[in-house]
């Protein structure tokens, strides 16, 4: 019985960790560019994007093929909830510097 409980708790714990792992991704903005510019995220899951803007000025994170819109002040961090997505590629931009700030969510 004890063994059984331990197993269940382990499974729950591990899957909890796995979920926490999957649920958030970090993106950095520097020199008005995203890094990574290709962000891999799992399909059919709600994902938390943690976007750090290391430039001195503000940037607006905006989804092109998905709904997301958030101004991120200079030298600060923002969290944006996106998804769940079907597998595919979804573009996003930094609206204030659209020429350089481009990226894609690669959903698989």
């Amino acid at each position: 019985m004890k063994k059984w409980v331990a197993t269940v708790m382990m499974v729950v714990g591990v899957s909890g960790l796995a979920l926490a792992d999957q649920a958030s991704v970090e993106i950095t903005i520097k020199n008005h560019q995203f890094s990574p510019a290709e962000v891999k995220i799992p399909a059919n899951t709600r994902v938390k994007l943690i976007v750090s803007n290391e430039d001195a000025t503000a940037e607006e994170f905006e989804g092109e093929d998905f709904k997301a819109e958030k101004v991120i002040a200079g030298n600060s961090k923002a969290t944006i909830m996106v998804g769940p997505f079907k597998p595919g590629r979804y573009e996003f931009v930094g609206e204030f510097h659209e020429d350089t700030a481009k990226g894609e969510l690669v959903v698989e």
């Binding site: 709600r46 938390k48 001195a56 000025t57 503000a58 940037e59 607006e60 092109e64 709904k67 997301a68 819109e69 958030k70 101004v71 991120i72 002040a73 200079g74 030298n75 600060s76 961090k77 923002a78 969290t79 944006i80 909830m81 998804g83 769940p84 609206e95 204030f96 510097h97 659209e98 020429d99």
Partner: protein, 276 residues
């Protein structure tokens, strides 16, 4: 320069359309220019303040302060537009008479039109803050700053001109129908803003994510010119979910019920108007 103009135009347009519709909707209301003008000025000042504290707002409430702030500002605007429509359903008749130059006396001085100031002010503040951040960001960027800055100015001008044109167009509507048309415009505007505010709360993770009820992105993309215009005016969204559609419909129902209730209240029309 063109890209800057387009970005700024997009932001300014929303505020300009809301202010324009409010101006047309209150044609003949004494003191309305003062209230709306004051609201715009306060909105510009507010935009500067919001832009200056953007970082603090964003990092508040575990990083979702911006969404909550935007949702709150939108909901305040919805409340003000609702108040406007309910107020108008009591006063439209005397205004029509007044506009027709009948000796209608509008109970002047007894009309605190805060809702006009707050509704136009919140629209200007919300959109203006992004314009300020954008222009500041390009100004700090160096090289192409002047071109981008003039682009921004072109965008602001274009937005204001579009608003002015819409205003002229709206005033061409015969007086007897004007307030009906603007009433519907404001009703749909308010419902759209309510739906948008839900979008922010969903993005913040405060309201749960829900699958879209339908997807019209293939027919009319929200990012297209027509899609954006419809988004501003009637709250068009290509993939709305149950929460957003629910907010849209309940806003419509609540405001319509309020208007109906107000128009049943004892008449405020002065005897002079009634004879005319």
């Amino acid at each position: 320069m063109l890209s800057a103009a387009v970005i700024v135009f997009r932001e300014v347009l929303e505020a300009a359309l809301i202010v324009t519709i409010l101006l047309a909707a209150t044609a003949g209301v004494p003191g309305r220019s003062r209230w709306i003008g004051g609201g715009i000025l306060a909105g510009v000042a507010g935009a500067g303040i919001v832009a200056a504290f953007a970082g603090n707002i964003a990092s508040a409430l575990d990083g979702v302060g911006q969404e909550v702030f935007n949702a709150a500002v939108l909901l305040i605007a919805v409340g003000m537009l609702a108040w406007h429509n309910i107020w108008m359903s009591q006063h439209a008749r005397e205004l029509v008479a007044h506009l027709r130059n009948v000796s209608a006396r509008i109970s002047q001085g007894s009309l605190p039109l805060y809702f006009l100031a707050v509704a136009s002010g919140t629209a200007v503040m919300r959109e203006g803050a992004e314009v300020v951040l954008f222009l500041y960001s390009v100004a700090a960027g160096g090289s192409s700053a002047t071109a981008m800055f003039s682009g921004g100015l072109v965008g602001i001008l274009a937005g204001v001109v579009t608003g002015a044109l819409l205003y002229k167009g709206l005033l061409k509507i015969p007086v007897s129908h004007l307030f009906q048309v603007t009433g519907w415009l404001i009703l749909l505007l308010a419902a759209g803003l309510a739906a948008s505010s839900m979008g922010y709360l969903i993005q913040a993770g405060i309201l749960p994510w829900m699958p879209p009820l339908w997807d019209t992105s293939a027919v009319l993309p929200e990012k297209s010119a027509v899609g954006q215009l419809l988004h501003i005016l009637v709250g068009y969204q290509e993939q709305p979910n149950l929460i957003q559609v629910g907010a849209y419909i309940s806003t419509l129902v609540v405001i319509l019920a309020g208007m109906k209730w107000a128009s049943r209240q004892p008449d405020v029309v002065t005897p002079a108007t009634r004879e005319a």
